[in-house]
Symmetry: D3
Subunit: 287 residues, 6 copies
């Protein structure tokens, strides 16, 4: 690359570095991104590199993750038959134990391990730690599936202030110590709001938000909370994108400056979105 | 209880409260203590109460735990046949995954949950977090069984300074991100030394250290590092007590003021040992 | 004492230790308590031990004292004939000089000396020091008998923050430097209010507050500011208990959490009242 | 006064203000200075004004005082017959009590009162407070007459850091809590050394140190520690000037920059000595 | 001078030292004061001594200066013909360059040099530095003559907090980086207001403000902002005194405690005005 | 530019950002760079942009400048005939005055103005300010040409800590206040050493250091202090490059990590050298 081009990228990136220095960026890293067949290592490694670079320029990354596919896999190995209620998995005590072991003891560990190879000094957390996530039962018919009642961001704030990267598994607990499994997109949004994050970023395996699922050209580069509400209401947004869209809309209405749905399959998608004029997915603003 | 007796206990306890205020006490809580049939809840709850009381008087408890019985249980459910080498369990990649899920995602969570019901603001950690425990392979024939190479106590020190209680699962990792399962007694001793703990306490299911296993009257109230070495060399101390004895002797020779082997089955054993003139197990000093 | 009883006392005491840590407790120590014939040393020594133990668990004791009997004794030796006006001693310039010498130069010194033998690092103060107590003449007919006009708690707060125990003699002064002798019960209450004390404790030579002076069974374990007002109004409370009762009622209405009238003759009464569920005198709350 | 003269005084004084800012000056104020018949108020008032002005320009004054004449007066009133041993007063328990009452409860109070009228925020202390002066018996035949064993300047340093003026009565105590009366000149020197004072000043009722007591023209403007030793050895210095001379010589050999013997009867002697090129008494340097 | 007179000067000065300690005093030092033929060195040297003494007693001096005569001199040497518009000098780009070189590169340097010989640690600044003075064009016909739009006192405050003496040349700039020459009296007043100065002092070559220019006996010792307005309106104040009078009146109405017009030819005029009861010029108060 | 290229530039730059964060970079900006005919504005503007971007990523730039051509220009206008001694300009008092006016009042101002348009909050300084550069006469025959005797970096360090950019004109002064003109390359090196700079950068109008002046292909990408010494000794380096080469060699031997000679005519040369793997001139290391 010749010098003028190189200079242009730097001249463009530096104001972003300055603007985001010392600001928290909450990144939801999907379980799917971990589960891919051969590309798996590569995606996780690029992600870990980007998180390390974010820290190098004094951004304060917080990683939140789920792990649906991995939970299903262990249930299968243990001969546990999944049960459903209105399309959602019923989580009995044994299923909760399995989910917790997989999320906290496996997926969380794999991400922490990959980050620490980059020197990122990641620390694995569960929402149960230090009262991070207080949860409540969503529906008796679903068992130990929880909603977020409150987030106490003290632990996460402590860790980022010390230069560490919290990696949060989305198990919460109630006052009596009962644990619940919670949707990771919702938790990511709730933490972003509680810490007053600059950005909330969903790393997914799609290119962004489309107004027409079947039409790649309908990809939105930018949108607003109201427009997202309409797309969800009209059914144009469906499936697993619904909790992400809702979390984005809620977050930008509650103090988070912007929310992003990015294609995690693009190498260094996170870095390009954060440090250049042209993003690589959909950016959601309050208005 | 009448007033004079009550006054005597308080007059006796307060100097200990003062002496241990602001000092770290590392407590190894055994997997066996968690695994008991009907008494299980009760032992864990008393333990959690004692840890909460330690924090109330400004001691800085750090909990380290193993989980052998629980690992074996999940292996059995997954149809995994244990393999042994010179009496030690061979830990292949799948066994390591199981151990990590159980230790970090189950046992650690149960202890954190019990402590947080007491308001103790526990935070679960693994030795992999923030470079806490650097490990190396012990013996190729054993697979992913590790020795402690180094302890970086920064994370633990940070958490205790914030008034939180670290609960440490004894998985370590090497520079390349490979995880290892490590003996929890050894880890407890290494952390106590690294943080310059006042005390290292092993909560066990025996009454303390005996010079003659078969003779309850041979229980030692106090002993020294040298005496412990002799008892191990002579075979008077054997089995699971060996790594505890070694950790005690090493710790008191490396800056820990005293080490204790207590009977965790005695209600509030921890509190009685810490705050009264008469201990309830064996206390080990440097000399 | 066996282990379970011992554990129960500790489990009961620790929450009080935690609650009162870093909080100021103002203790009025009566001149009578010092004047006793043979038991004198013993009472003062137990008191000094209790103050030392309070400091050991990070409470912040402030001692206020009077010294009526000792003032009378020196007056007698100097051949000074007491004069009275409506039942109160007339304090001319010479009497004031005597009172000041006895309170600041004798009683205060005896208490400071006893505390410092316990390592408590007591510092004797007079209300004249650093503007601690601004006083004004109560009644021209009484001479240099003062009322408290204002308390500047800066000096007392400095000393307790440094880990020292202020011992306050109740001489105040006005803007022109004129000194006044002031009722010690009133001063204790005023200082407790000014520093926002957790507790105000009167160590007396009676068992507590009774609704019927002649009936030991009428002792009140707990009462309220309003009830005290009624007892004073009805004459059920009389004599030297009146200023104590008034100071208690005023203090709990002005930010002091609770006020106590204890029997200083019970060994370690202070410690038992502060650190156990069952008090040893009368506790006064706002309502 | 015309402008050029006024300017010359200021131009001369300001470098001294700068040099002594933030430095401790220990001033011994003699009991004689307080005992004078008609001039009494005036001398004490000028002294109080000078101390207030020292504080105004950020010097850190510490006042130490004796009170021999006043002790004698109260002994007489109480019908106590003085007893002597080799020219020094024997101090039995009752005499000590009297001395303590007079020094701490009368002389100290009068100085504190005079200073506080100037807004100087004086705080009376005794050497017994917070371990300030540890004393030991000088000679069994003398009773409770003490020597200085150690000075713990923490309390004094704390008070001056808070902008307060400590006024120290020279009673010390031993580890068992026994009080002793100590020569005030000696205490002033010991405190000056312990706090690393810039200056030690004796305010006396003579013009300074003379080599020939009977010859006013033999007054020394400056002298050295060695020269003082010679004058004491030769008897040229005698009486009450001996402990002052010894304290001056010891102090300048132990870190105090200079020691001064001033004529306290000259109005504002302290200010003139501190802030002008020409002193008003004798200045002692190390060499 | 004898001791009582000396003491009187000190007793009078110290309260001023205390009152002005840590307070900013902005001194406008006139270009004329620098331009005098033979007395030049002497006036600047006395001024430098006074500034050094102000710092010694912890006042925070800020010097502002002009340099009209010196600008005219260089213009003459460069053969530049002055042009006037309604009595004010037209400042084209070349004239501005000359003014800037003279003010920043010559007059400012001479003052900084003289101060630093006194150890005053002066730092030369221009209003262009760190956004100190934002200016705007006054009148297109005048070219680069500016008015003060805003003062950002951050740099000046930084420097005085570090114990340095800012010496400010009165060039300002607009947002596009265009420089302007600004009246130094106006700048001095604007800086005094922006830093919340205690005093604003104009050192001039006249004795103070007179109500009748021709009558020395009409000199005002004290006056008010309103009275000054009247004198300017009536023409009693004219010429170069007008911007000084306006700056004084504006400053005392905007938070500056008092403003002074002094005769800089009187040796140590600054010190005498600041530290004695009788000033040496005119003092202006808000009312 | 496509995403992968963009990502590569960022991934490469971030480690440099991290490494240089909080580190001082001293940049010598040559008078020639300011004097160019048509390209003048553009070079200064690109330089100002780069300095602003350095600050944005928390580097701490310090600018040092000369101004030989501009001094010569004003001398000519004032009809001053240059005089030379052994090839160096003789600097009499008038020449010094001219040099100081031009450097401090013109060149320094132009750089400060250009930086402040970028929001860089530049502050112009002279070596005379706050004792920054103590100088001494180099050779009586040369007049007021100085050598650097000492650098007191306090002012520069203070300004960079406050987020400001010092721009230093290279006039120094001796203890008596006499000013001297000093070679700017030498001053840049001395300041870099005194502040412990990470880098010392010379922005010149040549491509870097060549071993053969006439052969562009002899340009050195990297070299060492010893190699530079040899090139100067052999005459391969000559003219104005000699003081630069000497300053580079001295600096890297005295704590500066690396020194650079860059081609200031390349847009953003500074940024490219600092933030990419391939430099754009010659880098000098200690060995």
């Amino acid at each position: 690359m010749d010098a003028p081009l190189r200079a242009r990228v730097l001249v463009e990136a530096i104001p972003y570095v300055q603007r985001f220095s010392g600001r928290v960026v909450v990144v939801k890293y999907g379980g799917n991104a971990l589960a891919g067949a051969s590309g798996e290592d590569s995606v996780l490694q690029h992600f870990a590199e980007d998180v390390a670079l974010m820290r190098a320029v004094r951004m304060l990354p917080v990683v939140v993750h789920g792990g649906g596919p991995q939970i299903g896999e262990l249930m299968t190995r243990l001969g546990k038959i999944p049960e459903f209620h209105e399309g959602l998995r019923v989580t009995d005590a044994e299923t909760l134990d399995i989910a917790r072991m997989v999320l906290v003891g496996k997926v969380n560990r794999d991400i922490v391990g990959a980050l620490n190879v980059q020197g990122a000094l990641a620390v694995g957390c569960s929402g149960e730690d230090a009262g991070l996530i207080t949860a409540a039962e969503r529906d008796p018919a679903l068992g130990f599936v929880g909603d977020v009642v409150a987030v106490d961001p003290t632990l996460v704030e402590h860790l980022v202030r010390e230069g560490l990267v919290p990696v949060v598994a989305t198990i919460g607990s109630d006052g009596a110590g009962q644990a619940y499994n919670i949707n990771a997109d919702t938790v990511a949004g709730a933490i972003a709001e509680a810490v007053g994050a600059e950005k909330l970023v969903f790393l997914t395996d799609v290119a962004g938000i489309r107004t027409d699922q079947g039409d790649p050209s309908s990809l939105l580069a930018t949108t607003t909370a109201d427009a997202l509400d309409d797309l969800v209401a009209s059914g144009a947004i469906g499936g697993g994108m619904v909790p992400k869209a809702r979390a984005c809309a809620h977050a930008v209405r509650h103090g988070v400056r912007s929310a992003h749905v990015l294609d995690g399959r693009v190498p260094h998608a996170l870095l390009l979105e954060l440090l250049s004029d042209e993003g690589v997915g959909t950016m959601v603003s309050a208005s």
